[in-house]
Amino acid sequence: MFRKCDITGFEVDKRGEALIKVNAVFAVIFFLVAIIAAFFLVLTRHPTIHLLPPHLYYRFLTLHGWNALLFWIIFFEIAGLYFGSTVVLNSRFSSPPLGWLAFFLMLGGALLINYTILQGKADVLFTSYPPLKAHWLYYLGVLLFAIGALLGVILFFANLVVAKREGKWERSLPLFTFGLLTAAIIAVVTLVSGAIIFIPTFLWSLGIIDKVDPENYRIIFWGVGHPAQQINLAAMISAWYLISYLSVGGITPSEKISRLAFLLYIFFINLASAHHLLVDPAVSPAWKVFNTSYAMYLAVLGSMIHAYAIPASVELAQRKRGYRGIFAWLAKAPWGNPAFSAMFISLVGFGFIGGVTGVMIGKEQTNIIHHNTLAVPGHFKGTVVIGTTLAFMGATYYLIPLIFRRKIVLYSLAKVQPWLFGLGIAILAISMLALGYLGVPRRHYDILFSNAPFKHEFNPAMWFFWTLFVIGGVSAVLGALLWILIVVLSVFFGPKLKGPEDMQIPIVLPPQEEKKNPSHSSILCPGTLTLIFIFFVWFMTYFFLNWKWLSATWYVK
């Protein structure tokens, strides 16, 4: 049942490993669907290229949303949860048959959703706000997918319990698995919200009940829609810690503080479904202020802690190897290792683009100048794409040799891939944010209003950003396709990995502990501290700019 990994020394349950593989492979397949759709969307949104006709634009947008935001990420996360709860703990998979059931439920749901969308029976976009109604098979697909994912999450908990009983871990989990545990707890809340809202919506689509209140739907739907992204957040941060450990032997500066940060997510982050209701009727400003800020920004505090702890883990390990000066540790970091470069671009991109814009879009009043503009997808390109997706891409470079036991094909191109994808998405996200500030709506086929009864002309500066939008979008699509190509060629056709000597991507052990304990009164990570202060200055600048922009609008109360 077990094989001993000759590279890491982990005991790997082969039955669990098969489940990790199949979930990861289907994640990549759905990612391919999302990327093909993304290519057409980029070239349709540009107001003069306009590749697709309107009905196909909205259909591809629905398809892209589901495959990119849910199928790709959740399949990959389920693979990650199984990895973190079996391989990392040298433990066995609690119930492989149920693992397969979870997989087939998710697959069935995903196929059903994609089928109804492509048949044109669910042109309702990812959010499917009632009274907009899709075919009942669509809602059935959502339910099957959610139940399958919930089962996968439950199996993760079961794996942890089995491992504990069998003495594989005692007092505390490794930080990576602890982070995944956070993601799993958030996932339960998310998926239960999904069931609460999609069961009545499904019955409504069958005609059994005659109304779903649109505002109730929004409140509960965003209990799925937004926390689903918080699962990604916790999983992404776990992946950052993982890659820091594997690629430079990263040393977590304080286990206590990093774990506290994850705990803050569990307590507060699910309040953020309010982010989508900040300019809705029916909920009061008091409710909005409390919930949108995760009760005084305590989840943001968690993210800001990780933003320090992860580069610090790299810096600590590098300093112990003797790199001095403020930034020598960073300059001499393994930039040729695609997992490391993916992790670092993901970290910087998430913080500077995704995180900062998220806080400002999520403030009650400044949401007025963002809601449903192109700035919103611009923000989540900065979180879920440059953040989660790129972090997962980086982690895959370790999964291929360690789990699939293959050499990475086209390794020299793999070194370029994170830059191509990461910079492409960064340009795309920034151009979308700028267009959003000019008022350009999201999910809109024709902002020139060619056939509309009235015209509106946006600020002509938009043309510059539309050009950037296409450049960024196309590079990101190419970066994503390159990654898919490398993964598919490696996994299915790559040369078999015979042993540690075949590892192209290095696993670096942490440096030996120094004899004397480091003094806690001095500054341990001057480089990280400098970086985080640059980040802080940017954050506060952006904060006040937004209020300045808001104060230039009409008065409203």
Binding site: Y58, D123, V124, Y129, L132, R171, P174, L175, F176, S238, L242, Y245, L246, T252, P253, S254, E255, L277, V279, P281, S284, P285, K288, S293, M296, Y297, V300, L301, I305, Y308, A312, K363, E364, Q365, I368, I369, H370, H371, N372, L438, G439, H444, Y445, A452, P453, F454, K455, H456, F458, P510, H520, P526, T528, L529, I532, F536, T553, W554, Y555, V556
Partner: protein, 210 residues
């Protein structure tokens, strides 16, 4: 050490000085950002509304009809042009795929907007000032607006509402006191209007309580 169990005494270890400093700075900025939002409700001029009502879409449509009938001053591209007096209740109707009526407002005067939808959800996006609010069937979104600058404004729909979503656009004209909207709209067919009590609206332009 993310893949290994933490050291035995991990919960007793003291964090380093730089990490502790950063955590305190981060916490303070979080509290600052939270209280700023409350402060903006007191000192700021742009806040979301405390008032909204549940409304039957057909009833809202009648409200709209009587509003248009009372204050209509003309028509443009088939959409009524309406000039309500300052301080009054203003009805804005969203439906697939139009905003109605075209509103003529005076600069620096308050208006109480009632925005709702007859069918699907829509997105009220006022351009180029870029103010965005959600419009939901069955809910009357009450927002008090004070236009701060004269000019021609567009209302775009920024919530997906079906295949004609991108055709949905309306207009708001803001004029100085005593000006006419023709400067922005061109010729509008005008009719006499006596501003009498009509339907749901009383003399002062407020919705009658019943």
């Amino acid at each position: 050490m993310a893949l290994l169990p933490p050291p035995e005494n991990w919960d007793k270890e003291k964090p380093s000085k730089d990490e502790k400093t950063w955590v305190y700075i981060a916490l303070l900025s979080c509290l600052f950002m939270f209280f700023w939002m409350i402060g903006w409700h007191i000192f700021g001029k742009q806040n979301t509304s405390f008032v909204s009502y549940k409304v039957n879409p057909m009833e809202f449509f009648q409200l709209y009809n009587s509003f248009v009938e009372k204050y209509k001053i003309g028509e443009k591209n088939g959409t009524p042009v309406v000039k309500p007096p300052p301080e009054s209740d203003v009805i804005l109707l969203a439906r697939m795929w139009s905003w109605s009526p075209i509103l003529v407002l005076e600069k620096d005067k308050w208006y109480t907007f009632h925005i709702s939808s007859l069918d699907l959800q829509h997105g009220f996006s006022l351009q180029p000032v870029n103010m965005n609010f959600q419009v939901i069937p069955g809910y009357d979104h009450v927002l008090k607006f004070k236009p701060t600058k004269e000019g021609e404004y567009s209302i775009i729909c920024n919530e997906f509402c079906g295949i004609g979503h991108h055709l949905m656009i309306g207009k708001v004209i803001v004029i100085a006191e005593g000006e006419t909207p023709e400067k922005y709209l061109g010729e509008i067919k005008t009719e006499k209007n006596d501003f009498a009590e009509k339907g749901y609206f009383n003399q002062a332009g407020k919705i009658n309580p019943e």
